[in-house]
């Protein structure tokens, strides 16, 4: 993943790329860009001797929406995040309703969604999360899955629902723009921050791991 590791492990052939983690081919929805990366990578198979570690020199184009995320804000117009935590349940359900049309637009455009790992309807996912926050003894909605992993999948589905909706907007394809919006401007972000605060000191439990390392990206903490 990082050049340092490749230098140490010395695989027969490797192409180092400068793109952010999660986007090894560089740009989504740019077939020519992706194929240039692939041709460079597969072209290493023609090397006469190795190990080979080459740097891929073409970066994400400067000035593109992928790169220049400064000053962007999500055009999805949401109600303000309530300051009173007791209002979060209703606000989260209401917010999901506001986001749903954009999510449906994204699914329609892409003909796919990545939501679904929890196997819960998105509103049921939100209700389970709120139920757990209000009462940590709440049962898993899927009896065959323990509460901890169920919460993880539930939160990943909720984040994906929001992220897919937001990234369908013009100028919102940069990962940081989507992420900053989700974690700083939404009720879901506020709920998950509260979850972290409540459980970050739980030791030796899945819930503690989730709060510390399994929900919020390090670059937001």
């Amino acid at each position: 993943m990082v050049r340092l590791h490749t230098e140490g492990i010395k695989p027969p052939r490797a192409l180092w790329v400068p793109f952010e983690l999660g986007r090894p081919l560089g740009l989504p929805n740019d077939a020519e860009f992706q194929k240039r990366v692939l041709r460079a990578c597969l072209g290493l198979l023609d090397a006469e001797s190795g190990p080979v570690l080459e740097d891929y020199l073409e970066d994400i184009p400067a000035g593109s929406a992928e790169y220049d995320f400064t000053g962007m804000s999500c055009p999805i117009d949401l109600h303000p995040v309530p300051s009173n935590d007791s209002e979060l349940t209703n606000s989260l359900v209401q917010e999901i309703g506001q986001i749903a049309p954009w999510y449906e637009l994204a699914v329609d455009q892409r003909k796919r969604t990545t939501v679904g790992i929890s196997e819960l309807d998105i509103l049921d996912a939100a209700r389970f999360l709120i139920d757990f926050i209000e009462d940590p003894s709440s049962p898993s909605p899927r009896p065959e899955m323990e509460v901890g992993p169920m919460l993880k999948h539930t939160c990943e589905d909720l984040k994906a629902f929001y992220s897919e909706a937001a990234s369908a907007q013009p100028g919102m394809s940069s990962s940081l723009a989507v992420e900053n919006w989700l974690w700083n401007e939404t009720v879901l972000g506020k709920v998950l921050w509260n979850f972290r605060e409540e459980h970050v000191d739980d030791s030796d439990t899945y819930i503690g791991y989730l709060a510390k390392r399994g929900l919020i990206p390090d670059r937001q903490i």
Binding site: V2, L21, I117, P149
Partner: protein, 153 residues
């Protein structure tokens, strides 16, 4: 891969301190011309079909993605939150470039694309996935694959 300096400090220091496996040899073989090669993808993104058993936290093992799987049937179960998922949400090819490989076949750049592709969950000590790697290699050989495109997430 990514620039180390772009990774948040905590994660960066953890990555810098990771113990790496060492090997006594550095195997290297030459093969057929690219235009005759059969390529299979091995991803570390814990991708899986919707109907697969979900990768659990820290699970070593693999899932099979048949080449005719609809992109809407592929989801991601990786436990880490420290890489971008929005690119994957917009375009599966940004981390699992199956469509791009088929286009490279049409261009004559590579010979063919395998019928089956594989995923594991990265972020584990590499030796924990040795059994999975050996099984995947055996399956690929049986299918006549001579080139593996390893795509880390």
């Amino acid at each position: 891969m990514a620039r180390l300096e772009d990774i948040p400090e905590g994660e960066r220091e953890m990555l810098k301190a990771l113990p790496l496996p060492s090997f006594e040899t550095t195997p290297f073989v030459k093969g057929k011309p690219l235009s005759q090669r059969r390529v299979s993808i091995l991803s570390t993104a814990a991708l899986q079909k919707r109907t697969d058993k979900v990768f659990y936290r820290g699970e070593a093992g693999y899932r099979v993605i048949p080449g005719d799987t609809a992109s809407n049937d592929i989801i991601m179960a990786h436990g880490s939150v420290n890489f971008d998922r929005s690119g994957f949400q917009q375009d599966l090819n940004v981390c699992f470039p199956l469509e791009r490989l088929h286009e490279l076949v049409k261009e004559g750049f590579i010979g063919s694309v395998a019928d089956f592709h594989y995923t594991v969950q990265g972020g584990l000590p590499p030796d924990r996935n040795e059994d999975a790697a050996r099984q995947i290699a055996g399956l690929m050989k049986r299918e006549g694959v001579d080139t593996v495109l390893l795509v880390p997430i």
